[in-house]
């Protein structure tokens, strides 16, 4: 809504200013129009692969929550690599990445290694790492970090059964999604174990390491992921093979394993609900 429109609506409400109730409701309408979510207008993070971006409706939604898990336990490295790549893409505006994990996660899955992250394109000057004593603390920290406008990407590693389908989990992930909407950063939940429980994440990715990429001399080539989009709120799912070009900091051509659903079906089945805005409403904290 532009300022001009706003003022005309307000002046239209002007003559009835004698009745405060009417003025109020007019103002409420204006505010509702201003604050309502309009799908498609949120920042989209183009992944650089046409078929994938099309499936995502123009790119990965910024200011939203996404979930990344390994296809099998041994794919932890690949899932981490994919999360790092997405974080690098989200950091293009000089913001910072916040990486949250519990003490035990570092022992089990390995510590984040700075030189490797730098090689992937994630500058160490733009990465803050938080170690939390208990996994649940990580969710609190993630919500706080997502609300911060300086955080371009917030990655939280979840070790085990957190957010795996308990009753409160939908609420918890919804809170995270709202926080991401408030701060505008990319929220990434990085699981160490495959999980399919429902939650409020916008998309869910299962990542496996895809071998076989060779460079011109037969050596190891770009990091390559066999990515499967298993949940997508506003579009079809599918499977892709993505290579991360860490020099250009972009995903590059990768063969589509399963075509991303024919074009006829790629229309949204139902319009995104307007009443359930993915932008935050002011809500009171309990307690």
């Amino acid at each position: 809504m532009s300022a001009v429109e706003l003022s005309t609506e307000l002046s239209a409400a002007g003559p009835s200013a004698g009745e405060p109730r009417e003025t109020l409701s007019a103002l409420r309408r204006v505010m509702a129009a201003v604050t309502a979510s309009r799908p498609g207008e949120e920042a989209r993070l183009g992944l650089g692969v046409a078929s994938l971006d099309q499936a995502l409706g123009g790119g990965l939604a910024g200011g939203a929550l996404h979930e990344i898990g390994p296809a099998a336990p041994r794919d932890g490295g690949a899932a981490t690599g994919f999360a790092v790549a997405l974080a690098v893409l989200a950091l293009c505006e000089g913001r910072q990445a916040i990486w949250i994990r519990s003490d035990f996660a570092a022992v089990e899955a390995g510590e984040l290694y700075g030189p490797g992250l730098a090689l992937m394109g994630l500058s160490l000057q733009r990465l803050v790492i938080l170690r939390v004593p208990r996994p649940r603390d990580g969710l609190w920290a993630m919500e706080e970090a997502l609300q911060c406008r300086a955080a371009g990407a917030v990655v939280t590693e979840l070790m085990g059964t957190e957010l795996m389908g308990d009753d409160g989990d939908l609420t918890a992930t919804r809170r995270l999604a709202l926080a991401a909407g408030a701060g505008g950063g990319l929220g990434l939940i990085l699981r160490h174990q495959p999980c399919r429980a429902p939650n409020a994440a916008m998309t869910r990715w299962e990542v496996a390491s895809a071998g076989g990429e060779r460079d011109g001399f037969g050596g190891l080539a770009l990091a390559t992921f066999a990515v499967s989009l298993t949940k997508n709120r506003h579009g079809p799912t599918g499977r892709w093979r993505l290579s991360w070009d860490h020099h250009e900091r972009a995903f590059v051509t990768a063969a589509v394993v399963t075509p991303a659903v024919p074009a006829a079906l790629s229309l949204p089945v139902a319009a995104a609900p307007r009443d359930r805005s993915s932008r935050p409403r002011p809500f009171a904290r309990a307690g």
């Binding site: 090689l119 160490l124 938080l130 170690r131 406008r149 071998g211």
Partner: protein, 491 residues
């Protein structure tokens, strides 16, 4: 020694045998307890903590005294006499017997508190108050007091008007200095036991408060006062302390550090809210707090930033401040050491190549770091550029195990790449391996001379797993049976 012992005529420093000779009943072991100096010291510290409610400037006068500088504080308690009475009454309620004296100099107050009976010495009356006191009231060594007594100089009054030069020559310079200090001819600063805050705001309550909400509300009000004061002098706080005085005289000190100078009241309150949440039960309000003090212990100059001009295309200054605030809050909740940044180090040993340093300390470290990296170590990014020329894939893993995980590997001797390896009970067949990248340990770090050379291989298994393996020890030269480890995982 308690009051009963004092009534019997026992004195401090009297040998136990003498006391038993006077009162044979003391032979009973239950009646005599060994002195515990550390416990005494702790008690004195606790009392000093508590006295903080009167003035921030408190010096310890070991083993059994405290010096309070109440300059400019007394009127808050209804004058010096009332303040002294209040202090003694509160201590007496805790079962502590104490004596207090107020005077213009620390020396005079000490003398009167220990040997006199007045509680307040007016400025013009110091000489008169000191004169009848014994010479020991000047804080002299016992030998000096005895030597003076032999000459018949038993009271301070005997000493005041004596010629100073012979006095100093005979009994040492200390005697004259103590005399001057007591009379105010010589300045005697009190050494504060705690750092003095640059900015302080405090609030007292007639009715104690106990709810966390009330405490935070109070801190918010105090923070607004601090903020206004800091604003005037363009300072920002780097270390803040909230002191909660419980009605039963326990004192909690809660500190939060900040990564960047901070003077916004709302952010200060949020930091304390997080800190209180992290402390939880350990800060027990009991019957409530009757005083809350907020102090900025460490401050730094903080110029106001004009948003429109300072915006240079990188992160907006507002975002920068928000990031610092986030780091501070996470630090307040989980401890500053848990919020880290990775900083490249000057070594080629993989596990030491980066160090996780507290993010809040980055500003100071950044300067040293840049200096050292220019001199010694290649900048990490440049190093990355060089490495990529021999292979397209990243040369370093994104995850590194703190303890390299032992694997069973089959490899050609002496230095061939692994053909297959078993990691976490799963057998991986190596499809392609690159290496070795030989990394020798740094002898200047290696105290025992036992560290073995490592040959690193980047391998990809037939199912796509990319791992960083190394063989520890050169076959034949360093070890007959090299062992294999998995050190990291690639993306």
């Amino acid at each position: 020694m308690n009051d009963a012992a004092q009534r019997l005529g026992l004195r401090l420093g009297m040998p136990l045998a003498d006391a038993r000779a006077m009162y044979p009943a003391l032979a009973h072991p239950g009646l005599v307890a060994a002195g515990d100096e550390t416990a005494d010291r702790r008690l004195l510290d606790a009392v000093a903590d508590w006295c903080d409610r009167y003035t921030p400037l408190i010096g310890l006068d070991a083993p059994d005294g405290l010096m309070l500088d109440i300059t400019g504080c007394a009127h808050l308690f209804g004058g010096e006499t009332a303040m002294g009475r209040d202090l003694l009454a509160r201590l007496a309620r805790e079962g502590l017997h104490a004596r207090a004296a107020v005077a213009d100099t620390a020396g005079c107050a000490w003398a009167v508190a220990h040997y006199g009976d007045a509680s307040l010495v007016p400025p013009q009356r110091m000489r008169a108050a000191l004169a009848p006191l014994p010479a020991a009231a000047l804080r002299l060594a016992p030998e000096t007091v005895e030597a003076l007594a032999e000459l018949g100089l038993r009271q301070v009054g005997d000493l005041i008007d004596l010629p100073r030069a012979p006095l100093a020559a005979r009994f040492g310079e200390i005697l004259v200095r103590r005399l001057d200090q007591a009379l105010g001819r010589l300045d005697e600063p009190i050494t504060p036991r705690l750092p003095l805050p640059s900015y302080v705001a405090e609030q007292r309550f007639a009715d104690p408060i106990g709810l966390e909400r009330d405490v935070l509300g109070t801190i918010a009000r105090l923070a607004a006062q601090l903020s206004a004061a800091m604003e005037r002098r363009q300072d920002g706080a780097r270390l803040l302390q909230a002191v909660l005085f419980r009605t039963d005289n326990k004192v909690y000190r809660i500190e939060v550090g900040t990564g960047a100078p901070l003077r916004e009241a709302s952010r200060i309150v949020r930091l304390f809210a997080d800190r209180l949440a992290a402390i939880g039960e350990a800060c027990d309000p009991g019957f409530g707090f009757d005083m809350v003090r907020l102090a900025a212990l460490v401050t730094e100059r903080s110029e106001p930033v004009q948003a429109a001009l300072a915006h240079t295309g990188r992160a907006a200054p507002g975002e920068d401040a928000e990031l610092w605030h986030l780091i501070d809050r996470l630090g307040a909740r989980f401890g500053p050491r848990r919020v880290t940044r990775l900083v490249p180090q000057d070594t080629h040993i993989p596990e030491f190549a980066v160090a996780a340093l507290p993010a809040a300390a980055r500003r100071t470290n950044a300067q040293q770091q840049s200096a050292s990296s220019v001199l010694f170590s290649p900048v990490l990014e440049d190093e990355a550029q060089d490495r990529t020329r021999d292979s397209i894939g990243p040369a370093r893993p994104i995850r590194l195990f703190e303890r390299p995980e032992p694997v069973e590997a089959i490899a050609e001797v002496p230095d061939g790449p692994p053909a297959r390896f078993r990691w976490r009970r799963v057998l991986h067949v190596v499809a392609i391996a690159e290496g070795p990248e030989r990394i020798a340990m740094e002898w200047w770090r290696d105290e025992t001379g036992q560290a073995l050379t490592r040959d690193y291989f980047r391998v990809e298994s037939s199912d796509g797993l990319r791992a960083w393996l190394y063989r520890e020890g050169l076959f034949g030269r360093e070890t007959p049976q090299p062992r294999w480890f998995l050190h990291g995982l690639f993306g």
